[in-house]
């Protein structure tokens, strides 16, 4: 069998089911057998390698499960534009893996040619919106496909803001035709940190553009230089998903309808069973949403 033949097993879109982020400690379990989860997501930058076992393993897993490629290094919000070499390397990864979805963030990480290894906040201004849209256009052109952009979590903001974060994102989606990766944990974290209403955020984003939802856990941290402002929420992907975030997932699914839901975990990575149990909870939320919508139709 040729390489071209082994590649076609799991083509097609990511299903509207629960998936998990594929992380190093769980790789062996996924290699040994197909795990009870609808799909997996990887960080694209971890697979930009000339050779070695890492890529072989991913090719093996993708024969069992659909794979989504989630970028963490493109820096769509950079004023200096995108790195053309990085775009080329990503394109060649996507050509090889044929991911069901490709996503990136509404943030920046590159300045002065340095990659700052974080998803840093943008000011919500017309200038930043123009730059973001120009970069999304370039990425979609280089990849030859539509991408999803993820709403960020952040700890500080810039003033004066010319629009809300959700209006900024809605406008980027509308101008570029890209889709939205709605991270409901990020909404919860930023709503707390910046004092806005998560429900207003949900109502302000274009539901029809949502192609994927992320859920994750976060940490609560007392600010050492705090002036009585209360704890700050830190989006560390290092804890189980908490109840308010599950509630936001339910609310989002009620508005948007069933779509792929990913459980993200990057720190304090638990045994695979624990992660799969969270994915099973997400699947129950998806099932409940499908049932509700069927009932709604009958009532109507």
């Amino acid at each position: 069998m040729t390489a071209a033949h082994t590649r076609v097993d799991c083509l097609g879109p990511i299903p509207a089911t629960a998936g998990v982020g594929l992380r190093h400690p769980h790789i062996d379990a996924f290699q040994e057998r197909r795990q009870p989860v609808g799909w997996v997501e990887v960080h694209s930058e971890n697979y930009l390698v000339p050779g070695g076992p890492r890529m072989r393993v991913l090719e093996k897993i993708r024969a069992d499960l659909p794979v989504s490629c989630h970028g963490v290094g493109l820096s769509l919000g950079s004023a200096e534009g995108l790195d053309e070499d990085h775009l080329r390397r990503l394109r060649s990864l996507f050509d090889r893996i044929e991911p069901g979805l490709v996503s990136e963030h509404v943030s920046w990480s590159v300045a002065g040619g340095s990659y700052l290894n974080d998803l840093l906040p943008l000011p919500y201004t017309q200038e930043a919106l123009d730059i973001l849209c120009r970069n999304i256009d370039r990425a979609q052109e280089a990849f030859g496909r539509r991408i999803l952009i993820e709403n960020p979590s952040s700890y500080l903001a810039f003033a004066p803001a010319e629009m809300t974060e959700w209006a900024f994102i809605a406008e980027a989606v509308s101008r570029t035709g890209c889709g939205l990766l709605l991270d409901v944990n990020n909404i919860h974290v930023s709503a707390h940190n910046h004092g806005f209403d998560a429900a207003e955020y949900l109502a302000g984003v274009p539901g029809e553009a949502v192609g994927e939802i992320h859920i994750a856990g976060h940490a609560e941290c007392e600010n050492p230089e705090n002036s009585g402002a209360g704890p700050v929420l830190i989006d560390d992907h290092g804890h189980p998903v908490i109840e308010p975030v599950w509630a936001l997932l339910d609310a989002a699914l009620r508005t948007i309808g069933p779509c792929p839901v990913l459980v993200e975990r990057d720190m304090n990575i638990p045994p695979l069973e624990d992660l799969l149990a969270e994915a099973a909870s997400a699947q129950r939320a998806l099932d409940a949403c499908a049932t509700d919508r069927t009932l709604d139709r009958h009532v109507a």
């Binding site: 930009l48 390698v49 050779g51 493109l74 990085h86 300045a111 002065g112 500080l156 230089e225 402002a229």
Partner: protein, 249 residues
């Protein structure tokens, strides 16, 4: 301007001062007292990346010393590309310039060079190793024109310190040999091997890596080690997959 905001944000991240910028690129900052979170994420995440690439150094010098070296490195040399497995190639030179580190532990830069070679070998391009049968087909006269190509994952490291012994040591309490080590780092399949070489063998492979003909490489080997045994060396390297191909001059 966004460009100025990002340049000033970058400068703020890379400093060890605990300042809270009130303005960035002309924009007001809401929540400047939280800037430390970004500064913290930056050094902590890159320290983890360096720890994954330099586990022996991290183990031998301990968490606190490693953090000191890693934080200083990441502030001085931010990553130039977004794939973290490519980050940290200058760590050996950085450590060599820190007197507090190399004063007590002069082997650290060479141990870092070995660990970087292991990291490079892990991610380098794959290739089918050259096997003995492919060489057996050559006519005896061809050996004079033979140029062996090392496997794309092969890396050569030599040190006046016993870094091969230090590399998998649990701590520094053991007795280490007084003389240095020569090593070949190689990943013929999924696993990286770190192989101790004799000085002649190291000179032999180094000459081949520089593109020397077989005869020239043997001369270099004998100069380093008068008793160098070509037949035994070739057989061992063909067995472990050190070569990926050959040319005839």
């Amino acid at each position: 301007m966004l460009r100025d905001l990002q340049a000033e944000f970058r400068a703020g991240l890379l400093t060890s001062e605990e300042t809270a910028p009130g303005r960035l690129g002309g924009a007001g900052v809401i929540g400047p007292e939280r800037f430390w979170i970004y500064r913290n994420n930056y050094v902590a995440s890159l320290k983890s990346a360096l720890e994954a690439t330099y586990p022996a150094i991290a183990r031998l010098i301990g968490a606190e010393n490693f953090s000191f070296l890693a934080h200083a490195y990441s502030r001085r040399f931010p990553p130039a590309e977004p794939s973290l497995h490519a980050y940290g190639g200058g760590f050996a030179d950085h450590v060599a310039g820190i007197e507090a580190a190399v004063g007590d532990l002069p082997f650290l830069p060479d141990l870092a060079r070995l660990e970087w070679a292991v990291n490079e070998a892990y991610f380098a391009a794959d290739a089918e190793p050259l096997i003995a049968e492919q060489l057996a087909a050559l006519a005896p006269g061809d050996y004079a024109r033979l140029r062996l190509a090392l496997h794309p994952t092969a890396r050569l490291v030599a040190s006046v310190y016993p870094v091969w012994h230090l590399w998998d040591a649990e701590d520094l309490a053991n007795d280490f040999p007084a003389e240095g080590d020569c090593m070949l780092v190689l990943r013929p399949g999924d696993k990286v091997d770190v192989i101790l070489l004799s000085p002649g063998d190291h000179a032999f492979l180094s000459a081949l890596a520089d593109g020397s003909l077989l005869g020239e490489a043997v001369e270099a080997a004998v100069a380093a080690e008068p008793g160098f045994d070509l037949t035994a060396s070739l057989a061992a390297h063909l067995e472990r997959g050190t070569f990926a191909g050959f040319d005839l001059d």
